[in-house]
């Protein structure tokens, strides 16, 4: 029996050991922004510093905040402006399955993934504001125009259509809010247009599911056989602060065009502060003109899967975390297709210590790039980061692999009339053209012929016609002088 008692005590001891430490730590009083004490780095009582809202300044009728006795943002109460009560907020939480019109009298709030389904047309009148809820993955608010559906987004230069986040304080009748900047990214998803035009896919599949949407939602499919497919019209549309992410590689662009056909009209589109690419073309044959991308997180203009349309008059303004201004891939399957990209001006972010390059031609890219003006990109030298001198990496125009170098040699990928405002430490325009393939090509030597240096943008003879972008939010906010 002695042994039994011993055995039990051992088991008991082990049980004790394993049951210990279940108690939670006592809760310490935590400094808050409403404890009436100026603590935790506050600059005033319960305001300012890293933890609390900025200290209030005297409310005005132009501060873009609903404060004081205002009934709305800067209107009503003691403000002279009467709040506009004609319109309201219309919540959009279900797919659009029949013809629908959105107008400038309302703000439309996108709640989650909204699809305009096959056969339906969504008409968006000039001046309409669409605000989207936050979230990522399935919760990301995106507007999808499925195959067979139409969008008629008919903005004008004076009354553009604005897609932005619910966090944006833009009001009815305005073209811009005041509380967000080009660095506020990923606050909602993006605009996705899917069509029936041919797409060159892995293993010659004829259709694909757009990234980030589960295959159980067949509204996410794009690609087909109709080159002239018509998905509608997108004119004078400004897309801001989007690009929510679903995971590595599953990225939502500002404007995603998957297999969109040449019957579709796309001109005067602006994308600002998107996490991922500004505008990405997955195959298709649509033509697009007057495109403006500012401060994207990844690439500004991205071409994939044998996109075969023409893009004219493009301006890219790089931001502090932007990657390539142009990222051009080719077909993934055996279906070929060549893009045409012309009249382009690329503004870099001088001396940017994180990467930010001019252009990357990759995989099997096919097409022509002409009349390009490049200015303000990172040159050669050093810069101080956190007290340490760090090498700058020259922003370049790159042939990334053997496939693309072979296409260059075969004349399937062409370059003409590039003008470069030389970055620091660079003496000749051809220095920024780099063939990184193993097979090699005459790309770097040819660069001396198809490119030249210019002193500044004013003396350039090529590039975009910037006056087309005078309507943009970017032009007005960043005082670009277009």
């Amino acid at each position: 029996m002695k042994k039994v008692i011993f055995a039990m005590s051992i088991v008991g001891m082990l049980a004790l050991v394993s049951c210990g430490d279940d108690d939670n730590d006592p809760i310490e009083p935590v400094a808050t922004c409403n404890d009436g004490v100026q603590n935790q780095g506050e600059t005033g009582l319960d305001c300012g510093g890293p933890n609390c809202q900025a200290c209030e300044v005297e409310p005005t009728c132009t501060d873009g905040i609903q404060n004081g006795d205002e009934a709305g943002v800067d209107c009503g109460g003691s403000c002279p402006e009467v709040c506009d009560t004609t319109g309201g907020i219309i919540e959009v939480s279900e797919n659009i399955t029949s013809d629908t019109t959105w107008n400038a009298d309302n703000i439309y709030e996108l709640q989650g993934r909204i699809t305009v389904t096959n056969g339906a047309t969504l008409t968006i009148e000039a001046g309409t504001i669409i605000k989207a809820f936050a979230g990522t993955g399935a919760n990301a608010s995106v507007l999808i125009i499925a195959r067979g559906a139409n969008i008629e987004a008919l903005g004008t230069a004076t009354q553009p259509i604005v897609f932005t986040s619910v966090a944006d304080n833009i009001e009815l009748g305005q073209t811009a809010g005041t509380n967000l900047t080009e660095n506020d990214r990923g606050l909602w998803g993006g605009l996705i247009v899917l069509g029936n035009a041919p797409v060159s896919l892995d293993g010659d599949a004829t259709e694909a599911q757009i990234e980030g949407i589960p295959a159980s939602d067949t509204n996410g499919l794009y690609g087909g056989n109709d080159d002239a497919d018509d998905s509608g019209t997108i004119q004078y549309v400004s897309i801001r602060h989007g690009g929510a992410l679903i995971g590595e590689g599953n990225e939502i662009n500002g404007l995603t065009l998957g297999g969109v056909g040449s019957g579709t009209t796309i001109d005067n589109v602006e994308v600002v502060g998107n996490v991922d690419d500004g505008i990405e073309f997955f195959g298709g044959s649509v033509n697009a003109s007057n495109l403006f991308v500012w401060a994207q997180g990844d690439d500004a203009i991205d071409i994939d899967q044998a996109y075969s349309g023409t893009i004219t008059n493009v301006v890219v303004v790089q931001g502090n975390i932007s990657d390539h201004a142009l990222e051009i891939d080719g077909p993934e399957g055996s279906l070929d297709g060549a893009f045409t990209l012309t009249d382009v001006t690329l503004f870099g972010l001088d001396q940017n210590v994180s990467e930010g390059e001019i252009a990357d031609y990759r995989s099997n890219a096919q097409g022509s790039t002409s009349n390009v003006l490049v200015t303000g990109f990172t040159g050669i030298g050093q810069i101080e980061v956190d007290g340490e001198m760090t090498d700058l990496v020259l922003s370049d125009v790159e042939l990334d692999n053997d496939g693309v170098a072979a296409n260059y040699t075969a004349g399937e990928l062409t370059f003409s009339a590039w003008e470069i405002v030389l970055p620091e430490g660079v003496t000749s325009s051809d220095e920024i053209f780099d063939d990184r393939s193993d097979v090699g090509s005459s790309f770097e030597t040819d660069a001396a012929t198809f490119s030249s240096s210019v002193a500044d943008t004013a003396s350039a003879t090529v590039g975009a016609n910037t006056s087309a972008f005078s309507w943009t939010y970017s032009n007005n906010t960043a005082n670009l002088g277009f």
Binding site: K3, V4, F6, A7, M8, I10, V11, L14, V17, S18, D21, N24, T43, P50, N51, C52, Q53, A54, R113, T136, G137, A138, N139, A167, D168, N179, N183, D184, G186, L201, D202, G203, A205, E207, A208, Q209, P214, A215, S216, D217, L221, G247, E248, G249, N250, E251, G297, D298, N320, I321, D323, P331, G333, V353, S354, R362, V385, D386, D391, D400
Partner: protein, 944 residues
């Protein structure tokens, strides 16, 4: 805390017992006529008045003074058997199992005399011989001999059994969908969100009595198995007072005392196999997380709730160590010993440290899409790094049993607690979708636990012609990935590091919780009777299993808000800086890291399964040598699902499957000789394979670890399988055994998880075209005594050859055809995923009872196995054979042979564990690689 454990350790060591006492002889009397035990047989000590009878279970026990005896076993109408040279040692138990065969003529008295050492019918082999179904077993003795510490590594030596990923058992090339793991004969929940089956690596061998692998179905077995049922039988109660302790250490020269080992600061109770709450979800599911532009104050507060440790730290690794303690006894409650109460308690602890340098996992290579004449694969993603793993396994088993003249009751409680902490630092290079180099710190903590209660009763009538057995077993299991942290940094060309969501992803943390409740009940009634003038046995009964599974995912991302230059530059590539207080989103600067909820409602589900079964079977003799077992089982299967799709479609307790099916089975056993030592078995059965919880659903589950989507299919149907088996068996003297088997299985509408061609990285379960599996197994166990001087050597060898043919789905066939290389042709079918074309086990062991020495050399290998089915331009991945050679020595010593020291050398060939991409005409490329190194383990155990 660690000191407390060490203290307990020394308490064990300081106890020493030893006193002269009686010994026991115990065992089971089996019925040679019939595949059963023989109750009420007479057991007498020759030349004395001492004796007993076997109970209704066929079990007997004799308490005797130390010495050498002859014991006589008899039963009316049966041969009498005399076993000579039965040695009884003080305080120890000698096991003698015997089989009595029916006397050929009722008038003659036949006495068979044999010595105890030649009578060592291993109980498992005996079970195998007597079983009506085709089965293979593994006794605790042979597991101990092979030095395996968990069931997953032990079960590999059963013919036709392979283990994938060190955890999941495949029987005859059929994986979790077709192989069922049960505990003491009843269903227990699985521990993997993706699979039906149990992870066997968390079952330590010290709780085991034996493992039985049943390969042919009888009506009393559940219908949802095809490859086999792996039954984990926990320790039976001892027949005498018994205590033991064991201690062990293991040293691996590449993994231990290595200063490069990676780990991270965990909780105070990590060493006990669970987290004390440090890694609890800091934000409840109902809490809405605003974006900084809306409510910076709240976002900052919520972000600060997350623990800031994100980096894998280098520190010195420790050795493996383990210890265990068991106690058991049996008490007579009345004078004649017909009422007995027994108990058993066991507790064990194991702490294992692994470190893999230059570990490779999940590399991606593709076929050239544009040019079919290019055979070599193209780099898409390469990944290499170091991985440190510390795994704790703590388990306790407690049981009591009460045995009366006609009844036996048993209550067993088992708890297994496992905590695994992983830290890795990986370099990833991307070539395709993105072109970059990034570095990632990955910290993972996984808590697994199983609590199982088994209440079991067995009753017979006076003459044991009726017997009833019932079991009730509730089980609770949980697998909880607690705070899975991934912090990727993009390496820029100038040596700086940045967080880049579009290139490498945002820092991510995940909590993934799977809980399953399982309630199993079973009733079996057996009636012995006469049919065609011969003994026959009618069996009928029912079973009910209810399973409920809850699966919840909470995922968060940590984007970095910049205003001026890229804010993440100042982290300098140090993951611990990402959530350092100074770098959390601050309202005055508008910069810094903030939290964002990334989980979706479609990741979460709640399902219920119930299976009600009833069966009837008759075992009878068609002639004196031909035994037939015919039966039919009915099962009602019902699956209900609650969950929501991303598009808002919601199912609430929706019945997805409701099936009532009949499963016939027939087993025939023909004895080729009078002694029933040579048998031919043949069997047919119909079985089923059912979709798992998440397969029969509308769930859309994004797995951030593999960046893949799993999409449920509510139209999925169960698979039905026809199984045909034939086997020849020969039982020789002692442990000598020879068997050769063949099997053939056809599958209607087999389920397989298939990629979706138009959506890269998305998968869905489908009923595919028909499949078949066939193969052969050969097993030899032979004492080498025919070579003079080799009497103490035994040889064990088995070889299995398995071929499977799975027809392609339309999607898969198209994708394969479109990606054929020039000169390559498309086969009509492929092998099943996870099936090894061959399995080989070979072992020689030396066992000398006189000097107490044991030694064994064991070799195990699985053939090249399809691990991942290729997807379009991504080729198939094959696990490479791992040549596992082990050597063990042990020595028993002490007056009462109570001490034992063992020494074990693993992976003597120093082989690596590898998987390759294989494509027509191309050089193989590595999918995964790790080098387990060589481990030397030293163990000590003592019985008292």
């Amino acid at each position: 805390m660690k000191f407390r454990i060490t203290f307990v350790f020394f308490v064990f060591l300081s106890i020493f017992y030893g006193s002269a006492q009686q010994g026991t002889v115990s065992g089971t009397v089996n019925d040679g006529e019939f595949n059963d035990v023989l109750p009420f047989a007479n057991v007498l000590v020759k030349g004395s008045s001492k004796g007993t009878t076997s109970d209704f279970d066929g079990k007997y026990t004799l308490n005797l003074e130390p010495g050498t005896y002859t014991i006589v076993y008899s039963f009316l109408g049966y041969e009498t058997k005399e076993i000579t040279e039965v040695n009884v040692n003080p305080g120890s138990e000698t096991i003698v199992d015997v089989t009595l065969n029916p006397a050929s003529s009722q008038l003659d008295e036949v006495v068979v005399v044999t010595t105890a050492s030649k009578n060592t019918e291993a109980s498992v082999l005996n079970l195998q011989k007597r079983s009506v179904a085709l089965l293979d077993g593994l006794s605790i003795q042979s597991i101990k001999r092979s030095g395996a510490s968990d069931i997953a590594s032990a079960v590999k030596s059963v013919p036709g059994v392979s283990v994938q990923g060190g955890k999941f058992v495949y029987v005859r090339g059929l994986g979790d969908r077709y192989t069922k793991s049960i505990l003491n004969g009843v269903d227990v929940p699985g521990l993997d969100p993706d699979r039906n089956t149990l992870q066997l690596d968390i079952f330590p061998t010290n709780i085991l009595d034996n493992i039985i692998v049943v390969k042919s179905s009888t009506a009393d077995q559940p219908a949802d198995f095809t490859g086999g049922v792996v039954d984990i039988v926990t320790k039976d109660l001892p027949t005498k007072e018994e205590y033991s302790i064991s201690l062990g250490v293991g040293y691996n020269s590449t993994m231990h005392f290595n200063n490069d080992y990676l780990s991270y600061e965990g909780s105070d109770t990590d060493f006990l196999g669970f987290d004390d709450g440090l890694r609890d979800l800091p934000i409840q599911q109902s809490t809405e997380i605003p974006i900084p532009a809306q409510d910076g104050v709240t976002v900052r507060q919520l972000t600060r709730r997350f623990e800031s440790t994100l980096a894998a730290q280098q520190e010195q690794s420790l050795m493996n160590f383990n210890f265990g303690f068991t106690a058991g006894n049996q008490y007579n409650l009345n004078e004649d010993g017909t009422k007995r109460l027994g108990y058993l308690a066991s507790i064990s602890y194991r702490n294992t440290t692994e470190f893999y340098e230059d570990y490779i996992n999940g590399q991606v290579f593709r076929k050239d899409d544009q040019d079919r004449s290019v055979l070599e694969l193209i780099d898409d993603r390469t990944q290499i790094g170091d991985l440190g793993i510390n795994s704790i396994l703590l388990n306790g088993l407690a049981g009591i049993s009460l045995k009366t003249e006609q009844s036996k009751y048993k209550l067993n409680v088992l708890h297994i607690q496992n905590g695994e902490s992983n830290a890795s630092y990986l370099r990833q290079e991307n070539f395709s979708v993105n072109s970059n180099v990034n570095f990632r710190d990955v910290l993972v903590y996984t808590e697994r636990s199983i609590t199982n209660v088994l209440l079991n009763g067995l009753h017979t009538n006076q003459d044991a012609s009726w017997s009833t057995e019932w079991k009730i077993a509730p089980t609770l299991s949980r697998i909880y990935d607690k705070d899975f942290r991934v912090t990727p940094f993009l390496a820029n060309d100038n040596g700086t590091f940045t967080i880049s969501p579009s290139e490498a992803g945002d820092p991510t943390r995940i909590w993934r919780d799977l809980q399953e409740i399982n309630l199993a009940g079973k009733l079996d009634i057996t009636r012995k009777h006469q049919l065609f003038g011969r003994d026959a046995k009618l069996k009928f009964g029912g079973a009910y299993t209810y399973k409920q599974r809850d699966f919840v995912v909470d995922q968060f991302a940590f984007p970095v808000q910049s205003r001026g230059s890229n804010f993440s530059l100042q982290f300098g590539g140090d993951a611990d800086q990402v959530l350092a207080l100074d770098n959390i989103y601050a309202l005055d600067t508008g910069e810094g890291t903030y939290v964002r909820r990334d989980s979706n409602i479609s990741d979460t589900f709640d399902s219920e399964i119930s299976v009600s079964a009833a069966y009837l079977s008759e075992e009878f003799k068609l002639s004196s040598r031909l035994n037939a077992i015919l039966g039919v089982r009915m099962e009602m299967f019902d699956l209900k699902y609650t969950g929501e799709r991303q598009d808002g479609t919601r199912l609430e307790d929706e019945q997805i499957l409701d099936k009532t099916d009949f499963f016939p089975s027939a087993n025939f056993i023909y004895d080729l000789n009078e002694d029933a030592n040579k048998k031919v078995r043949a069997s047919y059965s119909r079985t089923t394979a059912r979709p798992s919880f998440k397969e029969a659903s509308i769930a859309e589950i994004f797995d951030p670890v593999s960046s893949t989507f799993f999409i449920g299919n509510i139209d999925i149907q169960p698979t039905y399988i026809n199984n045909y088996d034939i086997r020849f068996e020969s039982y020789g003297e002692g442990n000598n055994f020879f068997a050769v088997s063949g099997f053939y299985k056809t599958f209607d509408d087999p389920i397989e998880v298939q990629f979706i061609r138009e959506a890269r990285g998305q998968f869905r379960p489908l009923n595919l075209g028909d499949a078949k599996v066939f193969g052969a197994e050969l097993e030899i166990r032979r004492n080498l005594g025919f070579i003079p001087g080799w009497e103490d050597f035994n040889l064990n060898a088995n070889i299995s050859i398995i071929e499977s043919q799975q027809n392609f789905s339309e999607n898969e066939e198209d994708a394969r055809r479109d990606n054929l290389r020039e000169g390559e042709t498309l086969d009509d079918n492929r092998q099943l995923q996870g099936q090894s074309p061959y399995l080989i086990n070979f072992g020689v062991n030396y066992d000398n009872e006189d000097n107490g020495w044991q030694a064994g050399l064991f070799y195990n290998v699985q053939g090249e196995t399809l691990e991942i089915v290729g997807n379009g331009d991504i080729p198939d991945v094959f696990t490479q054979p791992f040549h596992n050679l082990k050597l063990n020595f042990s020595k028993e010593f002490g007056k009462e042979i109570q001490h034992k020291i063992s020494l074990n050398f693993s992976n003597i060939l120093n082989d690596d564990i590898e998987s390759f991409y294989k494509s027509f005409g191309a050089e193989d490329r590595i999918f995964s690689f790790r080098s387990p190194g060589q481990t030397i383990s030293l163990g000590y155990s003592m019985q008292f």
